[in-house]
């Protein structure tokens, strides 16, 4: 036994000097605890704690993903709805415009047809008037010649002179009519 240990053994009364066997046993006891905990049991529980953390976070992530998806679907739906509304409004507007142009076109067409009919009427009237005028001129010429022959008592044989006289007469009549119009 070393001198130091002899002193230790002699002074067992001093509670601050550690007895070697107890020191050794104490360390062995601690190493047993540390060995089991550090090598097997704590790694075990750490693995499970990690798994649990992942499970919880996975659940949260799933919920978040579902929420995000719902949000995006809602937004999509809203966008579609807005688009549909916009489309409907646009269609209505278009229809209104189309209707307006149609009415305008039809009105223009009616106007055009009316003018055509009026113009045709005028032309017809003009032609009738001209025909009537020329027929009247012939009839008046014949009647006037007859009347003049009867009145003068002689037959105006000279045809050329006769028609010249009549034409001049009629022209004068026309001029008079123009002047009075």
């Amino acid at each position: 036994m070393s001198p130091l240990l002899t002193i230790a053994a002699e002074e067992m009364e001093n509670p601050l000097i550690p007895p070697i066997p107890e020191l050794v046993i104490g360390l062995i006891a601690f190493v047993i605890v540390f060995g089991f905990l550090a090598k097997k049991l704590l790694p075990n529980i750490n693995k499970v704690l990690e798994e649990r953390r992942e499970a919880i976070e996975g659940g949260i992530e799933k919920a978040e993903a579902a929420q995000t998806e719902a949000q995006s679907v809602l937004e999509q739906y809203k966008a579609q709805l807005a688009e549909a509304r916009h489309e409907a409004a646009r269609l209505r507007q278009e229809a209104q415009e189309q209707g307006a142009t149609l009415i305008a076109e039809m009105r223009a067409e009616g106007q055009r047809q009316r003018e055509e009919i009026v113009a045709a009427g005028h032309a017809q009237i003009e032609a009738d008037r001209k025909a009537a005028a020329s027929a009247l001129r012939q009839d008046v010429g014949k009647l006037a010649t007859e009347l003049a022959g009867k009145l003068v008592g002689e037959s105006l044989e000279d045809h050329a002179r006769q028609s010249r006289v009549i034409d001049r007469f009629l022209d004068e009549l026309e001029e008079k009519a123009e002047a009075t119009r």
Binding site: L27, A29, I32, V33, V48
Partner: protein, 273 residues
């Protein structure tokens, strides 16, 4: 009343007040036990304290074995309790002092230290055992030595030879002329006194606690005669109160022991100023 290490019980049972028998006060002899096996004069023996130490470590391993051998993601009751204790030390002590990143490596050591010390303290109030293993200096000294060796080697590894001395002496140029004095004090405080106080803090608390419990327990028995019975009642109430108080002190001292351990490790890892 003598320092007879062969004494098994803490006091003599046939001694009461007014019987012409002195008060068998507790003392150093209350912390010495006759070897169960071997020779107390040689260094090969086995006594009650050793038995409790080994039994205690078996109880801790048994408890955590039952709780963590096949841990479930959804924990049972036992696992939940063990997890709470484990988490308390891991988050409440290690992460708080050393930090999560650096501290993770030391969690098994600190957790083992805490539950070991706590168990050894708890023996003080467990019926039939009723002796705190940590009130024998050898046990706290062994644990403090482990922490001390870890602290010194960590400081060397982290800071190198010069850095070690700067770290240990708290080298700080801004101290000016006081620097040599401060360095001397810091050197003694950190390198020589600290392991000693680390061990003695635990030892002395448990030693004193056990002495107090013994005092009131012995007094309760000793006063049980004549008018002394009334005082024995008071003493017994004090025994109960002190037992409850010890229960608190045991956990607190275990906590303080590991908190200091973490502080030392943190100091070794920290960049010196």
């Amino acid at each position: 009343m003598s320092a007879d290490p062969t004494q098994v019980l803490a006091f003599e049972t046939d001694c009461h007040i007014f019987d012409g028998c002195g008060f068998p006060s507790p003392g150093l002899h209350s912390f010495l036990f006759e070897p169960i096996w071997g020779d107390g004069d040689s260094n090969v023996y086995f006594n009650k304290t050793m038995l409790l130490a080994l039994l205690g470590s078996i109880i801790i391993v048994g408890f955590f074995w039952a709780a963590f051998r096949r841990p479930q993601v959804v924990p049972g009751k036992l696992q939940m309790v063990a997890e709470a204790g484990y988490d308390f030390i891991r988050r409440g002590v290690v992460y708080e002092t050393i930090g999560k990143k650096e501290g993770e490596k030391y969690v098994p050591l600190v957790v083992s230290l805490f539950f070991f010390v706590w168990m050894m303290n708890l023996w003080a109030i467990i019926p039939l055992a009723q002796f705190p293993v940590t009130s024998v200096i050898a046990y706290p000294a062994g644990l403090a030595a482990i922490v001390y060796i870890l602290w010194v080697s960590l400081t060397f590894k982290r800071h190198g030879f010069v850095g070690f001395f700067k770290n240990v002496t708290g080298y700080d140029k801004s101290l000016g002329p006081v620097l040599p004095l401060a360095m001397g004090i810091e050197f003694f405080s950190n390198l020589l006194i600290r392991p000693f106080t680390h061990a003695v803090r635990l030892f002395a608390n448990m030693f004193a606690g056990h002495t107090l419990l013994l005092l009131f327990t012995i007094a309760s028995w000793y006063l049980l005669n004549g008018i002394g019975i009334a005082y024995a009642g008071v003493s017994f109430i004090m025994t109960v109160v002190m037992t409850a108080f010890e229960l608190f002190i045991q956990a607190l001292q275990a906590y303080v022991f590991v908190l200091l351990t973490c502080t030392y490790i943190q100091g070794a890892l920290a960049e010196h100023h």
